[in-house]
């Protein structure tokens, strides 16, 4: 990924100094240590558990630290049917997560309501939360969830994280440099 890792390489000082953009370093740290909030609401949660277990091993992508407190989470994996009864609880948990945070809508139900064209089911969690990655499937295979996680990692690596987090500081720096 040359665009996201613009490193200068000097063999004489190899292993001691790396030149890179601050965003690239920050995003690299973030994307390889995503702590998921397992928002398991239906059968997708079983596949989510399988993804975390030894055969598929989500730890290979640095996202094995499932946290049951929203205060410690980076990415909410909405796995399952979001009923209207549950919808505002999901939203509240999302709001309790610290920034930066991302959302994966796992499976047909979380993405669109799925087969539940019904009075009781929210037709897609994107009506309440900003979703970053949608995963198709009913339920998706663990490989699909891993692919979705990798998509999210790609997305994170393209973010202008520093400018987003400290806009005033970036503005002052740009003024000072110009």
């Amino acid at each position: 990924m040359p665009e996201t890792h613009p490193t200068a390489y000097d063999s004489k000082i190899e292993g001691n100094v790396i030149f890179t953009r601050f965003d690239a370093a920050l995003n690299w740290v973030r994307k390889n240590s995503l702590w998921p909030m397992p928002m398991g609401l239906a059968c997708c949660a079983i596949e989510l558990m399988a993804t975390a277990a030894s055969r598929f091993d989500i730890a290979r992508f640095g996202a094995e630290v499932m946290r049951f407190s929203p205060r410690q989470c980076d990415v909410m994996i909405v796995a399952g049917t979001v009923t209207y009864k549950m919808a505002l609880a999901v939203k509240r948990i999302y709001e309790q997560m610290p920034e930066p945070k991302w959302v994966i809508a796992m499976g047909a139900c979380a993405s669109t309501g799925g087969m539940y064209r019904s009075y009781a089911v929210l037709q897609g969690i994107d009506q309440l939360l900003p979703v970053d990655v949608y995963i198709s499937g009913c339920p998706p295979r663990p490989e699909a969830l891993l692919a979705g996680l990798m998509k999210l990692q790609e997305k994170i690596s393209r973010e202008r994280s520093f400018a987003k987090q400290k806009p005033e500081l970036v503005e002052r720096l740009e003024e000072a440099l110009s």
């Binding site: 009864k85 505002l88 064209r117 929210l122």
Partner: protein, 191 residues
């Protein structure tokens, strides 16, 4: 007491209170009046040993009078026999006696009927909604409730919106045709 003796005793004890009796595949159905439910239920449990309440369901015969029908599914462990008690109530009454003190399992069944159909149970110890939240204004399994739902709003508790049916409902028709012809398709309700 055998199974046949139990039903004979029920016939003898409640002769004129039994409106009709149907036998179908070893399942016996009695139609009774709503007011006689508790008496017959207690007799069925204590004298005829129908000790197990399988289920209570309700039917909405929308457009007919009386509108609602309640079905009690009883089972007797000693006789290995089913007994079904049916009773009908009109929408104006909308209330029937509870049997939750006779079979405690009726407690949640009756709450579900109240939640989905809006029929109240007189004497129920805790008649709250069980699936939808307290304050939801509709009874979704009634026939005049649309499949796509109705909008509602309870701040900080829950909300509902009308679902887009996208030409649905999507229905499969049973047949021996190939999967291509059997698969679910949008079929408007009038067809």
């Amino acid at each position: 007491m055998t199974r046949e003796e139990a039903f004979a005793l029920l016939n003898k004890s409640f002769g004129e209170k039994i409106q009709s009796k149907t036998e179908f595949r070893d399942e016996t159905t009695y139609t009774i009046a709503a007011g006689d439910l508790r008496e017959i239920a207690e007799f069925s449990r204590d004298e005829l040993s129908f000790d197990y309440l399988l289920d209570i369901t309700s039917i909405d015969n929308f457009g007919e009078e009386p509108r609602f029908e309640i079905v009690h599914e009883l089972y007797s462990m000693p006789h290995a026999a089913h007994l079904r008690l049916k009773l009908r109530i009109s929408e104006d009454v909308g209330e029937v006696d509870t049997v939750s003190d006779i079979w405690p399992t009726a407690n949640w069944h009756e709450r579900e009927i109240y939640d989905m159909m809006g029929i109240k149970f007189k004497g129920h110890p805790d008649l709250r909604r069980i699936l939808m939240w307290d304050g939801y204004p509709f009874f979704p399994l009634r026939k005049d409730f649309p499949l796509e739902g109705l909008p509602s709003e309870m701040p900080d508790v829950a909300f509902t919106k009308v679902t887009s049916m996208e030409g649905g409902p999507f229905v499969t028709r049973p047949s021996t045709a190939t999967a291509k012809d059997r698969e679910p398709r949008a079929r408007p309700p009038q067809l």
